[in-house]
């Protein structure tokens, strides 16, 4: 029992360790030329902004793949929703809050239609969403007619490039080793980081103690503490860096909230449990009274909603709607899921690992750009990494 638990956990930590390793690797590579460009506050903010859409959509894709399906249309939905939102704001002069709500509804609606076809129409999801991918890419082009539509109101741009209370800065320093000279530090970002790290510690220790008391299986304490320490260090490090730039990006807050929400939904709710059962053995789930069609439908509607959100983020970040927005994003999202250990045959996958998988891809993209690797070589490397990650997973499973 213990050994099994260690093994499961070690696989998770392996992923986290590979992320840290690749961060160190690129930090080292950028050290000579730029003095560690990878971990500069502005670059960390960049990595977050650049990868926010992947993480947001990977949360939905996880559920789709765990349920035994795939969604290839998300990149096109990103483009289409962005185009609709941009056109409404720029040409029709609609206020952006209304446009945002409408955009999310459009995303969810597209997902719902595809979900209907997959769940009740029994058309394979690969085909339905391949169709969706072509249709919405085409509609995006028709809507924009090759034009960039923009710029947008400041409030709309803030979804992707805004910060939480950016003016709440205090002059701090100098502090030995941390700050050479007195400089402005955003206390909101730093404070939220400290609170977040503490909350994580308290919650996980309380959960552990409760499990102990209730005679439930619990992680070995050293492992738990170690994991918490690593995560706390990461949170504090990142928020410290961010607080020295402009503070906490709004999009990071959105991602964090969504990640927590989906982590809870997948592990603690009835609906989450049923999605895993559906993906693990559809017939057994059906015979246990699970309404499998409705669940599949929901995973797609949810995916569409998140793709709509990602579409808004992408448009806000570029400050314009472009015909090529979201091109091939579906591949990044699916790759993030598989690097994060989601089983291609359904039923297996964890939210946190998928987020780490997405960050892994993001850091790689960013790092390779920083060291000036050509865009085509970047693709080759990403492909190899995907194969290696899944290969290791399959190998471990067969051995284990």
């Amino acid at each position: 029992m213990r050994s099994e638990l260690w093994k499961d956990n070690l696989r998770d930590y392996g992923l986290l360790m590979s992320l840290l390793l690749i961060v160190c690797f690129f930090y080292y590579l950028t050290l000579d030329a730029d003095g560690g460009a990878l971990l500069r506050p502005v670059n960390i903010t960049n990595i977050i902004a650049q990868n926010s859409y992947v993480i947001i959509m990977a949360l939905g894709m996880l559920l789709v793949i765990v349920g035994g399906n795939i969604d290839l249309s998300v990149g096109s939905i990103v483009g289409f929703v962005g185009a609709v939102a941009g056109s409404l704001m720029v040409y029709a002069k609609w206020p952006y809050p209304i446009v945002m709500v409408l955009s999310l509804a459009i995303g969810a609606g597209i997902g719902a239609i595809q979900g209907l076809l997959v769940a009740y129409g029994r058309i394979p999801s690969f085909i339905v969403t391949l169709g969706g991918m072509l249709i919405f890419r085409g509609l995006t082009g028709n809507l924009l007619l090759g034009q960039f539509v923009g710029p947008f109101a400041r409030g709309f741009q803030d979804i992707a490039s805004g910060f939480v209370f950016p003016s709440f800065s205090v002059q701090i320093g100098p502090i030995p080793y941390l700050l050479d000279e007195a400089s402005p530090v955003n206390v909101i970002a730093l404070g939220l980081g400290v609170i977040g790290a503490l909350a994580m510690f308290v919650l996980s220790l309380r959960g552990w103690a409760r499990a102990r008391a209730g005679n439930m299986e619990s992680e070995p304490l050293p492992l738990l503490l170690f994991k918490n320490l690593v995560f706390a260090a990461i949170i504090l490090f990142i928020t410290w860096k961010l607080s020295r730039y402009k503070g906490l990006p709004v999009v990071l807050l959105i991602m964090a909230v969504l990640t927590l929400f989906y982590a809870f939904a997948t592990t603690r709710t009835v609906i989450g449990r049923r999605i895993y059962a559906l993906g693990g053995n559809r017939l057994a789930a059906q015979l246990s009274g699970v309404k499998t069609e409705r669940l599949i439908f929901l995973t797609f509607a949810n995916m569409g909603f998140l793709a709509g959100l990602a579409g808004l983020v992408v448009a806000a970040r570029l400050n314009s709607s472009t015909p090529s927005a979201g091109n091939s994003y579906e591949l990044d999202v699916i790759a993030a899921c598989f690097i994060g250990g989601v089983s291609a045959s359904g039923g297996v996958g964890k939210v946190l690992n998928v987020v780490i998988g997405a960050l892994f891809m993001g850091v790689m993209n960013n790092g390779m750009s920083l060291i000036g690797l050509g865009i085509f070589w970047q693709q080759v490397v990403k492909g190899l990494v995907l194969l290696a990650a899944v290969g290791v997973d399959v190998y471990q499973k067969r051995k284990g």
Binding site: E4, G214, A277, G280, N281, L283, L287, V348
Partner: protein, 511 residues
């Protein structure tokens, strides 16, 4: 006549079970040799040993074929020597043509390039031999099951077969197709081919067999020579079922109460072929504390009946009424069936019963997540308590409730499935082959659980192909055949001979 095949002292064990125990079989050249036995007696295992599906080294004993001891490492080796087996489930590729199927794996090719004119020429020749009038390019999916069976035989002939083994060849055929197939077999015999025929249909065996070997519980009981003396069906049945039953079933005190559950005039159509009735006007009832068995051969429609009752999980155009405690039930979905107190413990636990990638804990609560959650959020502590309780109550042997179901033994997996259904707190449990593929000790425990459930006043319906199991656990037994209940008897008055006779009577009446 010389023996073409002699199997001497064949013993084959699987982890936990001895499937074959010192089996001896002698088949003379040019005869049709029938093998009879109950489901699970070891007939198919014996044929798998013979054909190399279970390769040399995984069994003990000798296979002497055409005068030499053979050590088949694969099915390819046995086929190479003209020993061809046709399995119960047809192994044809539905989207390929007749010609392609006949030469699948045995293509008329030179250097990997198929010679189609040669292929079609030989296909026509073989189709002529089995009396199949179709175009060689017709797809398998477009011809009926009877013709598909003929394609299988043509495929065997293409391999230059000397000893043809047919496993339940007529199980899914209608009367006319069966007769044609058996005539074909007799024709081949005239031409000197040897055949081994496994069948449940004793009237067919009586018609074509020269010798009959009876297998029971993995051992050969006897070999009857049909030419020396006329063999009656009763004689065969006696050999098949005559076994001692001592202490294989826990003692039970049955206390049967008032009527609990009733199905009236239940009709079900095949899910794909509309108009083909699979269940034909079945009525049954279960009383409180009663264990009711449904006996029958494979394909009798027992699983189809159970699944059609359980929220229409099988079939279409389902007609009939179901009542529980006098109230009419709405069984339109599985969720409703569970909600109203029905549970169906599936036959195939790996395919239908368990989510193998999930833990024991999550498997147990899957059918009643409402029982461990509040407003859609699962209470971990409650779930662990439930899983722990069933683990103890049913003595599930697992290192922990967090163990994945795939790592458990068959008997313990079955207990997890049972736990899942017990946690839904059903009033009526339908158990489909509850002890298939699990060892004797675990079987005994499952029987104990059945007794306990009946003792709590639940109604239990047990579907089983093992007749002793029904006799040992039930109060009353329905006999099912070809979608109908053909007989009903109190278990006290029932015997395996009587059940078999009820089934066979129907076959007898038809032919």
């Amino acid at each position: 006549m010389a023996a073409i095949l002699e199997m001497r002292g064949i013993t084959k064990t699987f982890p936990g079970v001895t499937a074959l125990k010192d089996v001896n079989l002698v088949v003379e050249e040019g005869e049709i040799h029938a093998i009879c036995g109950e489901n699970g007696a070891g007939k198919s295992t014996l044929m798998k040993v013979l054909s190399g599906v279970h390769p040399f080294g995984t069994y003990s004993g000798d296979i002497v074929y055409k005068g030499e001891v053979r050590r088949f490492a694969s099915i390819g080796e046995s086929e190479h020597l003209g020993l061809v087996i046709i399995h119960q489930e047809l192994a044809l590729a539905p989207q390929l043509s007749i010609a392609e199927n006949i030469f699948l794996g045995n293509e008329t090719a030179a250097n990997g390039v198929i010679d189609w004119s040669e292929c079609f020429r030989r296909t026509r020749e073989l189709m002529g031999k089995v009396g199949l009038r179709e175009s060689p390019t017709t797809l398998i999916t477009n011809i009926g099951i009877g013709k598909q069976q003929l394609v299988e035989i043509a495929k065997a002939l293409a391999k230059d077969v000397k000893l043809l083994i047919l496993d339940e060849p007529t199980a899914s055929l209608n009367e006319a197709d069966s007769t044609a197939l058996l005539d074909l077999l007799l024709g081949f015999k005239q031409q000197g081919m040897t055949a081994i025929l496994i069948s449940h249909k004793l009237n067919e065996i009586a018609r074509v067999a020269d010798k009959i070997t009876i297998i029971r519980d993995g051992s050969t009981v006897e070999t009857l020579d049909c030419h020396k003396e006329p063999i009656s069906e009763g004689r065969i049945i006696k050999g098949m079922v005559g076994r001692e039953m001592t202490d294989r079933y826990p003692p039970r005190q049955s206390s049967v109460g008032e009527e609990l559950f009733r199905i009236e005039d239940w009709w079900v159509e095949h899910p794909l072929h509309s108009g083909r009735e699979v269940i034909k006007g079945v009525s049954l009832h279960v009383r409180r504390g009663e264990v009711v068995g449904i006996a029958g051969l494979m394909g009798a429609g027992r699983t189809e009946l159970a699944m059609s009752i359980f929220g229409r999980a099988y079939g279409r155009n389902i007609r009939g009424t179901a009542t529980l405690e006098g109230r009419k039930l709405d069984l339109s979905t599985i969720e409703k069936a569970i909600g109203q107190g029905l549970a169906y413990v599936t036959e195939d636990r790996k395919m239908l019963g368990l989510v193998l990638t999930e833990e024991v804990r999550t498997n147990i609560t899957l059918a009643n997540l409402g029982g461990v959650s509040e407003r859609g959020v699962i209470d971990n502590a409650k779930e662990v308590a439930v899983a722990t309780r069933y683990r103890q109550a049913l003595r599930i042997r697992t290192p922990s409730i967090y163990q994945r179901a795939i790592n458990l033994s068959g008997g313990n997996q079955q207990k997890v499935v049972l736990s899942k259904w017990l946690f839904t707190e059903p009033k009526v449990l339908i158990m489909d082959e509850p002890t298939r593929g699990i060892d004797v000790g675990a079987k005994y425990e499952i029987y104990g659980i059945i007794n306990e459930l009946a003792g709590q006043g639940k109604g239990v319906i047990v579907i089983s192909s093992e007749m002793p199991e029904l006799l040992g656990t039930c109060d009353r037994i329905y006999v099912m055949n070809e979608g109908r209940f053909v007989d009903e008897m109190p278990a006290k008055e029932a015997s395996q001979e009587k059940i078999m006779a009820s089934i066979m009577r129907q076959y007898g009446a038809k032919s």
